[in-house]
């Protein structure tokens, strides 16, 4: 398991790789990938019991990315974990590539095709019910966006998860407070998420979605008897690149050459800064 320092370096590496991949592809969901990548880092490097060797093991943990558009973050993390070669990231969106702009099961490590919002939680509920029936020990995680909370199907699934007391289920909301049109609270206010999930019978935990230590503690916390867990991760869209942060323009914008160079300089400086610090 990576140390805190190694984990922090991974986050910076992932951010660089996300930007490289999106720049090369000429398209991608930049802001959302940068907001959720720390969550994915902690999941795949500290929490999920998954690996390329056990990708078909019925006992593996399951991760469903309901906010499928942030697929660049997922591809980068899966490549780093060895599910497919890192060099393949250069094929994102290219003719006949299996790396499509939303997750599909053609890509090793991906459990379900997503991209239309409001679908992942129900599928995760199904996996969790199956786990209960089989008395399996696997846990199910899904990642949603806060804009996605406007989809009614999310709440159908949330109600079922509470009803069936699915304590093997964890729903993480990447609450970056922005969606393509603007601030989520202005487009269609999804707050208060804590109260909403609580009313549906969930345990709710709120965490800084860029604090790797806090994320590790929250995501790895033991299950709460008979209750599903909602983790509201407070994040910043575009996190890690100053001019992308909290700006809806970067929902799916591709940096031009100058912006790309600036972004990389910032991330390289952050890496150098981290490496200078005593271990």
């Amino acid at each position: 398991m990576p140390s805190d320092r190694e984990l922090a370096l991974k986050s910076l590496h992932y951010r660089r790789r996300i930007l490289e991949v999106i720049k090369h592809a000429g398209g991608g969901h930049t802001g959302g990938s940068l907001s959720c990548v720390d969550i994915l880092n902690v999941l795949y490097n500290r929490v999920l019991r998954v690996s390329p060797a056990t990708a078909a093991d019925p006992g593996r943990d399951r991760y469903i990315q309901s906010k499928g558009h942030s697929v660049e973050a997922l591809y980068v993390v899966l490549a780093d974990r060895g599910f497919f070669p890192d060099a393949e990231l250069a094929t994102l969106g290219k003719y006949q590539s299996r790396l499509i702009g939303h997750p599909t099961r053609h890509v090793p490590g991906i459990e379900q095709n997503t991209g239309a919002l409001g679908h992942g939680l129900a599928v995760a509920v199904g996996l969790a019910i199956a786990g209960k029936k089989d008395r399996a020990t696997y846990r199910v995680f899904t990642l949603l966006g806060d804009g996605e909370m406007a989809e009614g199907s999310v709440w159908e699934a949330a109600m079922a998860a509470g009803h069936y007391r699915l304590d093997n289920l964890n729903a993480i909301v990447d609450q970056n407070s922005l969606q393509i049109t603007g601030r989520t609270r202005d487009v269609l206010n999804s707050e208060p998420l804590e109260a909403k999930f609580g009313a549906f019978g969930w345990v709710v935990r709120t965490v800084n979605g860029h604090d790797l230590k806090a994320l590790s503690a929250t995501l790895a916390a033991p299950p709460v008897n008979n209750r599903p867990v909602a983790i509201i991760a407070k994040t910043i869209k575009g996190k890690g690149v100053s001019f992308m942060e909290d700006n809806p323009k970067w929902h799916h914008a591709v940096p031009n050459d100058e912006e790309y160079a600036r972004a990389m300089q910032e991330l390289d400086a952050a890496v150098a800064d981290l490496e200078r610090r005593p271990a």
């Binding site: 379900q112 095709n113 129900a122 509920v125 199904g126 019910i129 199956a130 109600m159």
Partner: protein, 317 residues
């Protein structure tokens, strides 16, 4: 068993059925429910997911006998299909049961993405399909489902015509582990005197003939059989009747053979004339260069008239 004919069939139709020696079976929905119960008794990984529809799905006995193998999701069709996909992803054999009208419209995106595109082997079961709900009106009719589902890749579409086809289709679906839609109605059905058993993707010849051919699917096949028998008795015409329980993938060879060998083709379906079996056959024939005389019998492109299923069938001929 011959007459009396059930309300679904006219007295004349009942007499024809009796003359042909047809045995009246049960509604396909009941044949389905018994079959899935048998499968589930033998394998605890066989699950039924219902959305407050176990009564109309004839699944009461299943729920009482195997409560651990029925997953109730309440009145939430999108969730029903999404949960079914998750259960299938975990290796379960899943029958997702809901009235066809809701299942294939409300949850269409879940069918498209969570089941078909994700290749999760859910068996979608549309119950009380077509105009089975009669006077409950167009909200409860599913006359769009073949059209909508035919356009989705990696999804078989089946409408069994009698109890034999229904039982065989359910067993084939459970064994096949592929995304599939099965459509069942509520009317009791005569057992078809077809040669050979049900094979997924294949038409069954119920009556031979070359003067014309009826290409029918689901609960309308028996009506084509009765019509063909009356044409023979009245006019001496020998009409072929094909049951096409698999609408997708269509048995193209059987359709094209009928187009080459018969003087006219009539397709029959309990579905809108838009986008169903008829247009599937028409596209096949046209692209094969067969300009056969051709007529689509289905429900017209309008809100359905009020009445029972039998009334509606009579109204639209």
């Amino acid at each position: 068993m011959s007459a009396p004919a059930p309300a679904m069939y006219s007295e004349a139709a009942g007499r024809t059925a009796a003359r042909l020696g047809l045995k009246l079976g049960r509604p396909n929905l009941e044949a389905f429910a018994d079959t899935v119960l048998g499968l589930a008794r033998a394998d605890r990984n066989v699950l039924v997911v219902t959305g407050d529809s176990r009564g109309s799905g004839k699944l009461g006995p299943f729920g009482r006998e195997l409560p651990d193998q029925i997953v109730e999701v309440g009145i939430a069709e999108q969730n029903l299909v999404g949960i079914a996909a998750g259960l299938a992803a975990a290796g379960k054999t899943v029958f997702a049961v809901s009235p066809a009208c809701f299942l294939t419209a409300r949850a269409l995106e879940q069918i498209k993405n969570d089941v078909a595109y994700s290749d999760q082997p859910v068996i979608l079961v549309g119950i009380s399909a077509g105009v089975s709900y009669g006077a409950l009106g167009s909200t409860h009719h599913s006359l769009h489902d073949y059209a909508a589902l035919r356009a989705i890749p990696n999804l078989a579409v089946m409408a069994p015509a009698d109890n034999g086809e229904a039982v065989a289709a359910v067993k084939a679906a459970a064994a096949g582990r592929r995304p599939i839609y099965l459509r069942f109605g509520k009317a009791p059905l005569y057992d078809l005197p077809a040669a050979g058993g049900f094979v997924p993707g294949r038409a069954r010849e119920v009556r031979p003939g070359r003067d014309a051919a009826f290409l029918a699917t689901g609960e309308t096949v028996i009506h084509a059989v009765l019509a063909a028998a009356e044409l023979e008795a009245r006019d001496g015409l020998r009409c072929r009747v094909l049951s096409l329980p698999t609408i997708k993938p269509l048995d193209g060879a059987a359709v094209l053979a009928a187009g080459r060998e018969c003087r006219a083709l009539i397709t029959v379906e309990e579905h809108s004339v838009c986008g169903g079996l008829g247009e599937a056959c028409a596209a096949l024939l046209a692209q094969a260069g067969l300009a056969t005389r051709f007529r689509i019998v289905g429900l017209p492109d309008e809100p359905t008239v009020t009445g029972s299923q039998a009334d509606i069938f009579r109204h639209y001929g």
